[in-house]
């Protein structure tokens, strides 16, 4: 269960809307199902009755600020979980929106639930979900309610949460958290320790499920180019290509490379993937490599920091030596 309640957020938002500090509020709203909460814009206190805050509020609003600050006459109120604040800072570093037009409220996060972990137990036919002390799930298959502890169905990115610290906010609800030593690179290391053939088989298995819906690109707070290379129909490099191996590898290499050094590891790409491809493992590989070779760097930890790939030292590792110590 999340530490703060929905009412706190609604109250806050309503008072800020009323006194004219903000004219738009970014929050979560129920989608088609109880668990697929969609990002929504609320413009009046009346609208706010639809605002939801529970264990499924995974969506990161930082990217939405780019469009919404342009539409707003005063300020946009945004609720930011700790990991969202890193994306927020990263976008500020890249001058993607005007900080003066944002009123950011930091809210504590206990980790978000992963619906696929719940569905693995209950089946797909979920009729309703209630989030309280436990997550109570009713299905179309029986009248019984199945209860889950959040810790048992927590999304992978939250199990390996990198920080409970808000790095940017105007106002903080709850307490300031800390950066956490997480095991987020363990899985990357496990893959690195495989043989080349095993790694290839692993990625073939994962990436051949890709349907190229572009959701990972669209949701990524680092992917903010107005003209994206993947939208060029003449490009063909990243198009679905017949191959003896598997088809979407180029897309995923390019996508991961384009955000390398700017990826804050928020894990949104994996969350939205309809095929449950662990895309964060590609991003984390880059983060891990950069940490190893170019010094520890967390994108978004501070505004204005210089990413490893737009920087250099004369003593950098040679490209042929990055494989050292590996099979």
């Amino acid at each position: 269960m999340q530490k703060i309640t929905r009412d706190v957020l609604v109250e806050k938002a309503a008072s800020l809307l009323e006194n004219g500090t903000v004219d738009r509020v970014l929050g979560w709203k129920k989608g088609e199902f109880d668990y697929d909460l969609t990002p929504a814009v609320f413009t009046s206190a009346d609208d706010l009755k639809d605002l939801v805050w529970n264990d499924f509020c995974g969506a990161n609003f930082s990217k939405y600020l780019i469009a919404n600050t342009k539409k707003s006459a005063s300020k946009v109120l945004v609720f930011l979980k700790p990991c969202d604040t890193y994306s927020f800072n990263q976008l500020l570093t890249e001058h993607r929106f005007d900080r003066e037009k944002v009123y950011a409220i930091g809210i504590p996060c206990e980790g978000m639930a992963d619906i696929s972990k719940i569905k693995a137990v209950t089946g797909d036919g979920i009729s309703s979900i209630e989030c309280g002390e436990k997550i109570n799930v009713t299905t179309i298959y029986s009248d019984d309610t199945v209860s889950f502890d959040l810790s048992d169905v927590m999304a992978e990115r939250c199990v390996n949460c990198k920080s409970k610290k808000h790095v940017a906010y105007d106002e903080l609800i709850g307490e300031e958290g800390d950066v956490i030593e997480s095991g987020r690179f363990d899985e990357v290391e496990r893959i690195e320790n495989m043989t080349a053939d095993e790694r290839y088989a692993f990625w073939q298995n994962e990436l051949s499920r890709c349907i190229r819906c572009n959701a990972c690109r669209d949701v990524c707070p680092a992917c903010t180019c107005e003209k994206c290379v993947f939208d060029n129909p003449n490009h063909s490099l990243e198009n679905k290509a017949p191959a003896t191996s598997f088809e979407e590898k180029m897309f995923h290499i390019i996508r991961a490379f384009h955000v390398a050094g700017r990826c804050t590891d928020c894990g949104e790409c994996s969350r939205v993937c309809p095929q449950n491809i662990p895309l964060h493992l590609l991003n984390r590989k880059f983060i891990k490599d950069m940490n190893t070779h170019y010094g520890e760097y967390q994108a978004g930890a501070e505004v204005g920091s210089r990413a490893p790939l737009v920087n250099y030292t004369t003593e950098d590792v040679e490209p042929g030596d990055v494989f050292e110590g590996r099979e």
């Binding site: 390019i254 004369t314 494989f323």
Partner: protein, 144 residues
């Protein structure tokens, strides 16, 4: 003579100021290097977008090698330092995906190193030939 023997196709990106001149010197000195190496001249090694490398592999290259000025000697002061970081990351990622790491290489070749250029290309062509065809990154649409 075996007609159907598949020769490796190698794409070499060479920077205009050092490595391309190095290749020129190799030619002037009558040093031989494999004809499978196709040289693409670029203004600076940092002109090479990582997508060029992927594109080469997609179109059927069996190996891709980047040649630039020695670090510190870049004619644009710092271009090859960026190349070094970029390619280190790209090659590491390709290796992570299970692409043989021997298929990619970065070598610093100056305009005076014709011999090094020829030796590098000979060595790289041999390595790539030993690996065989690049099956893992090719695109069947580009098959001739």
């Amino acid at each position: 003579m075996q007609v159907n023997e598949k020769k490796p196709l190698i794409v070499a990106f060479c920077c205009n100021w050092c490595s391309y001149a190095g290749a020129d010197l190799a030619g002037n000195n009558r040093l031989s290097y494999p004809a499978d190496v196709k040289i693409i001249r670029v203004p600076c090694s940092c002109r090479v977008n990582p997508m060029f490398v992927l594109r080469a592999f997609q179109r059927g290259a069996d190996g891709v090698i980047l040649c630039g000025c020695h670090p510190g000697d870049c004619h644009y002061t710092s271009g090859n330092y960026y190349t070094r970081r970029r390619m280190a990351m790209l090659f590491s990622m390709l290796d992570y995906l299970g692409i043989e790491k021997e298929r990619t290489r970065v070598e610093w070749v100056s305009a005076a190193e014709g011999a090094k250029f020829a030796a590098t290309m000979n060595d790289f062509a041999q390595t790539v030939a030993a690996l065989g065809e690049n099956k893992r990154l090719e695109d069947l649409r580009c098959k001739r």
